[in-house]
């Protein structure tokens, strides 16, 4: 008797076949990775295949992998990660697809398949600069009108580039370069696996 997750993996393998680049189960979650050119047809199969039936796109987000593991990352930089839910089958799936060009990340849009992707893709475009081809209305969503840059990229400083203040001489709000220094109280550290174990060191 296969568990539910094994059934899901088996169904995915049967339905998608060669399109699967990576399929793994960790912490009770199934992660599927496909190439950008297979993204749209995979998404359509995931939604419509009678053994899969992922009716709902719960979440779509951009990820910038460039500083993963303090420079240990060698793959592509930008990915879009979707979380799908099937109401009728009661299972979940994570779908990851990397954009092929790090300098100009472009992915097909899934708005036509799941309408909820509309704002999620706008958000990923706003924060990471991933372009979604075929999106009906790809505007910025969370940042200010006229904002420059994509703030969630790892090379964007946490304090930003500009700050806003009221200028009493010009009698209006003006933008100027930031005057604060970014401050890090707790440094980011990655320890080796056995750190802190009994007998270590």
């Amino acid at each position: 008797m296969a568990t539910r997750l094994e059934t899901l993996c088996l169904n995915l393998q049967n339905a998608l076949g060669e399109r699967i680049r990576d399929l793994r189960t960790a912490a009770g979650e199934v992660t599927l990775e496909v190439a950008a050119e297979h993204y749209l047809e995979t998404a359509k199969l995931l939604r419509d295949h009678p053994d899969l039936r992922f009716e709902q796109l719960i979440d779509l987000t951009g990820v910038d992998y460039s500083s993963w593991g303090d420079g240990a990352w060698t793959g592509l930089r930008f990915a879009a990660v979707c979380h799908l839910t099937s109401i009728s089958k009661n299972w979940r799936l994570r779908l990851r697809v990397f954009a092929t060009d790090d300098g100009f990340p472009v992915l097909p849009s899934v708005v036509g398949l799941w309408n909820s992707a509309n704002w999620y893709e706008r958000e990923a475009f706003d924060l990471y600069g991933i372009l979604f081809e075929g999106h009906p209305d790809l505007r910025r969503i969370l940042t200010d009108y006229g904002f420059v840059g994509h703030p969630f990229r790892k090379d964007f400083p946490i304090s930003g580039h500009v700050e806003m203040r009221y200028d009493p001489e010009q009698k209006r709000v003006v933008y100027q370069p930031v005057t604060i220094e970014p401050r890090e109280n707790t440094p980011r550290i990655i320890r080796e696996d056995s750190y802190g174990d009994v007998g270590h060191g």
């Binding site: 593991g69 969630f152 980011r188 990655i190």
Partner: protein, 422 residues
């Protein structure tokens, strides 16, 4: 009247918000109108964007936790819950059973708090002034519960990865006499507060069904309320799924989907409760769903109280790489002192990997997608807030309705901009 005269009529665009009492925060809604009929609604969000996800990348796993309270600032503990579940999933730590019961109980208290606010302000927005006075009366009692367990009325930071911060208190804070409250008022207010927190909460659960009946007397058969909500903002089950609706917005359309039942977390599989669903998918049905959810939440709270009375025990994991050791042993034991010091300076190390944890938040599915590269800080946190796709659907919900219905639709979405903008 010829066609040339008609052609001169142009659509009118108005700005709703960002400072509008019915916008529930800072929502800017650009409405394109044909007379009084909405042709297009374009919500502009982000005015409350604080980049919580980016901030989380520069803070340790524990330091991130209080930021979660500030997302949906009317259901604080539920946000923390999803975050803790995600971190626990990555770490693989077990949460003590008593902590799980406390979490479930506080989640349901939060659900009542959230729905009380929603129903009160929704009614206020569309003309029923009295509701908010009654619902805020009950919210006050539950805010006291929040304060008693965590020390804060709003931003609790009570759930921690591995359990909850401390056990439930044995006594409730008391009112004291002052120039605004005389001895008689103080005696009345303190009557239910003589015992422990559980006594106070149990007393509340006995009183609460009557209060819900009162709300229903005011609204459920109210002619004006029905005129404003029945048939407004109708969503079919198919559209609700495609638009990414969850929670009462999805159940109002008749889809029986509740994570507490379908994918139970903590001890929800031991709880007895019903999942209400609507029929027509309009604002009125969603109101009825929320009313019934409050009654069911009350039932769950009562079951948790019974269990918590009988079963004392630890409330946080004894894995001191994740949770701090007790104060006494820290003072007496070198090893515990080191654990304490390392935990609060460097923070815990979460093994590399990714996890998505979702809970049935009062507004829908609240999910936390955490990616760790093995560091003491998250590599990436994505917060899936339920209000985001709901607000994205405003255009579809409002199209063809009168401009006055815009407030009814915003009210029914149960919008909190802190949650939508993150």
């Amino acid at each position: 009247m010829g066609t040339s005269a008609m052609a001169e009529i142009r659509n009118y665009t108005i700005n709703f918000g960002p400072q509008h009492p019915a916008a529930h925060g800072v929502l800017r809604l650009v409405l394109e109108l044909d007379g009084e009929v909405i042709v297009r609604a374009d919500p502009h969000i982000g005015l409350l964007h604080r980049a919580t996800e980016k901030l989380a990348e520069t803070r340790t796993w524990l330091q991130t936790l209080p930021y979660l309270d500030r997302l949906d600032y009317v259901s604080m503990m539920c946000n923390e819950h999803a975050y803790c579940l995600a971190v626990e999933k990555l770490l693989g730590v077990e949460v003590p059973l008593r902590a799980q019961y406390i979490r479930v109980m506080m989640d349901e208290v939060t659900r009542i708090l959230n729905h009380l606010l929603n129903i009160g302000t929704h009614a206020l927005d569309i003309g029923a002034m009295t509701m908010v006075l009654y619902t805020f009366r009950e919210r006050e009692d539950l805010m006291d519960v929040y304060e008693a367990v965590s020390g804060a009325r709003l931003h609790a930071a009570y759930y921690r990865p591995g359990g909850v911060y401390r056990d439930l208190p044995d006594r409730m804070p008391q009112y004291v006499e002052n120039k605004f409250k005389n001895a008689e008022t103080v005696r009345r207010l303190n009557a239910a507060r003589q015992g422990s927190l559980l006594d106070f909460l149990e007393d509340f659960t006995h009183r609460f069904p009557t209060y819900v009946d009162e709300y229903e007397t005011l609204l459920t058969d109210n002619r004006i309320w029905k005129q404003r909500t029945v048939g407004v903002g109708v969503v079919s089950p198919e559209r609700a799924l495609a638009l990414g609706f969850t929670g009462p917005m999805l159940r109002g359309s008749g889809v029986e989907w509740d994570l507490r039942r379908k994918q139970p977390y903590e001890v929800y599989d031991r709880m007895e409760f019903d999942v209400p669903v609507g029929v027509n998918g309009d604002c009125y049905d969603r109101y009825l769903v929320r009313i019934e959810e409050m009654r069911q939440a009350n039932r769950i709270v009562r079951q948790c109280i019974d269990w918590l009375r009988k079963n004392p025990g630890p409330v946080i994991t004894d894995n001191h790489k994740v949770a701090p050791p007790p104060r006494e042993s820290m003072k007496a034991n070198m090893e515990e002192l080191i654990h304490h010091f390392k935990l609060f300076t460097e923070g815990m190390h979460v093994p590399p990997g990714e996890a998505y944890a979702a809970i049935e938040h009062p507004k829908g599915e609240f999910g936390v997608y955490a990616i760790s590269d093995g560091g003491n800080k998250p590599y990436r946190i994505k917060l899936r807030s339920p209000g985001f796709p709901h607000l994205a659907a405003t255009d579809e919900l409002a199209r063809g309705h009168m401009i006055a219905d815009a407030t009814a639709i915003i009210g029914t979405i149960d919008l909190v901009l802190g949650d939508t903008d993150r």
